[in-house]
């Protein structure tokens, strides 16, 4: 009898608390594979086996191919991986914070500030750059962080920030800021060039990033991920509701601030590289929750990898499907994400959203 109990206990620990290593393994392998295939695709075709040989021993590619690979395709691939991972992790954090599976990275107003920032960049200050980032990216980043700071400040009452106040203030500020960019559009003197630049940015386009840009965003994503690890467990506790979580000794206010700071930096970094890309931060965590359950500790690494994979595939399709022209990747994520999301909504209508 005693032995049976011990055995059962062992099984209990093994099956219920390990990380989903199999899924993380599959996802990592898929990311590498997808990156190799994507690197070969485009106007100049580079076979996958040549790429693999180049990476292992070097010397398999011609000078032109190397140039295309290292200064065009790889930066872009890396950028889509970073943006996808950042948006997906940020979406997961905000969904946990708001205890609502319908929240997304832009839920507390970062998009409005980013739009205004980008508009200022497009119409007023088009030619300054820092660390490889142009004015559009820099101002979008500043705008996203600025609007979230404003929202947080507005929603704060007596040292507390009720989530409803955050949502409402986020909605109001975001709408106001994004519509106020209209006044800048009036200033457009280049016969609509600025409008076209802004439109493509609004639809989400991963432009040609430089290596310093990528290094900065990689650094931000790494910090964000590291900061999210202790938060994941707190978000599980927070799911029980604010009062109960407080009783259990969780400092709700600190958790909330940490999620907002990390989520906002991730979102702003993604926006700086890729503009406003919709649905990634909403759908990827949602899909994973169906596979892995709602435990944020399990979801976090999987969300980073799947978001990266999803956006890499979407961006590769976006730049090749109507070559030599390009689709904004946001158009593609919306076209894939929208119907999928509606399907989920209908499917989970009875049982509630998981």
């Amino acid at each position: 009898m005693a032995r049976e109990v011990t055995e059962e206990r062992a099984i209990y620990k093994d099956t219920h608390h390990r990380r989903p290593y199999w899924l993380l393994g599959i996802l990592s392998a898929s990311v590498v594979l997808a990156a190799l295939i994507a690197a070969g695709m485009g106007a100049v075709h580079v076979p996958v086996w040549l790429l693999a040989r180049q990476l292992i021993g070097g010397g398999a590619l011609s000078e032109d191919q190397r140039m295309i690979l290292f200064s065009i395709r790889l930066p872009r691939i890396l950028a889509s991986l970073l943006v996808g991972g950042a948006l997906s992790v940020s979406g997961l954090l905000f969904q946990g914070l708001f205890r609502n599976p319908l929240a997304d990275p832009y839920v507390i107003g970062s998009s409005g500030g980013a739009v205004l920032g980008a508009s200022i960049g497009v119409f007023l200050l088009p030619s300054i750059s820092a660390a490889g980032f142009g004015t559009i990216a820099l101002l979008a980043f500043v705008g996203a962080l600025g609007s979230i700071t404003l929202v947080y400040w507005l929603a704060r009452v007596d040292g507390r920030t009720p989530v409803v106040a955050l949502l409402l203030a986020g909605f109001a500020v975001s709408t106001m800021l994004s519509y106020s960019s209209y006044f800048l559009e009036v200033l457009d003197r280049d016969f609509g060039t600025g409008m076209r630049v802004l439109a493509s940015w609004l639809h989400g386009t991963i432009a040609q990033p430089t290596w310093p840009q990528l290094a900065i965003v990689t650094f931000m994503l790494a910090i964000g991920l590291a900061g999210s690890v202790p938060l994941a467990r707190s978000l599980n506790t927070l799911a029980l509701g604010e009062e109960y979580a407080t009783h259990l000794g969780l400092s709700v206010q600190q958790t909330r601030i940490a999620v907002i700071v990390i989520g906002s930096v991730l979102t702003a970094a993604a926006v700086a590289l890729g503009g406003l890309i919709s649905f990634v931060g909403l759908i990827v965590p949602h899909m994973l929750r169906m596979v892995l359950g709602p435990d944020h500790v399990r979801l976090l690494p999987a969300a980073a990898l799947s978001g990266a994979l999803f956006l890499l595939v979407a961006d590769t399709v976006a730049r090749t499907v109507i070559a030599p022209a390009e689709l904004p990747v946001g158009v593609l994520t919306a076209l894939i994400g929208g119907p999928f999301f509606l399907y989920l909504l209908r499917k989970t209508k009875q049982g509630g959203l998981s």
Binding site: R9, H16, R233, G241, G249, L250, D295
Partner: protein, 259 residues
């Protein structure tokens, strides 16, 4: 007798409406207290004060002699568990993931669950007879199962004092009896229990004392026999003695039966 929680001259108000005035009371080890009283008399407020989630406007609530306001919530949660009336979980957590949250006050920021944590969770689920439910989704459980799982979360905190807010609510008569059995069992395990109770007929010998709260009056403490007398209750609950004679008679009978 060691006093776990002590209320000294405690006042508490929501805005300007005083719910609790000048409360003096002690929860001592191995007691099993039923808190009764009409709606709005402050039963839940009393439990929250004891759990330290709200602080008194005046007076002091202390845990083993230490003012709750000076303790971290984390420290309080290591010896006092509060099981709320309603818990809304937005995601489909399993019973086990739900119960795991009871270990929150014991976890370090970067540390995961250790052997002792699993042991506490397992023990909590065994005591509440929810071990077999551990892979089920919390939101899909029946009311009675959910109630037991909530108590399992509280027990995973390995508390000396368990505060139950309306543990019988929404339970059918069979599940109510099971809940009484569970309270009896936990009491024998050496856990001090305070439960707010709506249905007076369910208070039997399991409870060592009854606290009767009524608005605008000092709280009365005593044994079930002393408190659960019609004339006392009629006053506290403000129901006219012969307004509904047949109903009153039935309640009286049920209570006499229970005692």
């Amino acid at each position: 007798m060691i006093s776990l929680i002590e209320f000294a001259h405690v006042d508490f108000a929501y805005g300007t409406r005083y719910v609790i005035r000048d409360l003096d009371a002690r929860i001592t080890e191995n007691q099993c207290i039923a808190v009764v009283g009409p709606n709005g008399a402050g039963k839940t407020t009393l439990l929250r004060l004891a759990a330290g989630t709200i602080a008194p406007a005046c007076g002091e609530v202390s845990l083993k002699g230490r003012d709750l306001r000076l303790l971290k919530q984390r420290e309080i949660a290591q010896s006092v568990a509060f099981v709320p009336q309603n818990v809304e979980v937005p995601f489909s957590f399993t019973v086990e993931q739900f119960v795991e949250q009871g270990r929150t006050p014991f976890l370090k920021m970067f540390g995961g669950l250790r052997g002792a944590d699993y042991e506490a969770m397992r023990r909590a689920m065994e005591l509440t007879d929810t071990w077999s439910l551990r892979s089920r989704v919390f939101n899909e459980l029946s009311g009675g199962e959910r109630q037991r799982v909530k108590i399992a979360l509280g027990l995973a905190q390995q508390p000396q004092l368990l505060l139950l807010d309306e543990p019988m609510q929404h339970l059918d008569i069979g599940r109510q009896f099971e809940m009484i059995d569970l309270i009896e069992l936990l009491r024998r395990e050496g856990i001090t229990i305070v439960a707010s109770m709506h249905d007076l007929a369910l208070i039997d010998g399991t409870f060592s004392s009854v606290w009767l709260m009524s608005p605008d009056e000092p709280m009365r403490q005593g044994s079930a026999e002393e408190i659960l007398r019609p004339e006392v209750l009629e006053m506290a609950f403000n129901c006219l003695p012969h307004h509904r004679p047949r109903l009153m008679e039935r309640i009286r009978n049920r209570m006499e039966h229970a005692l």
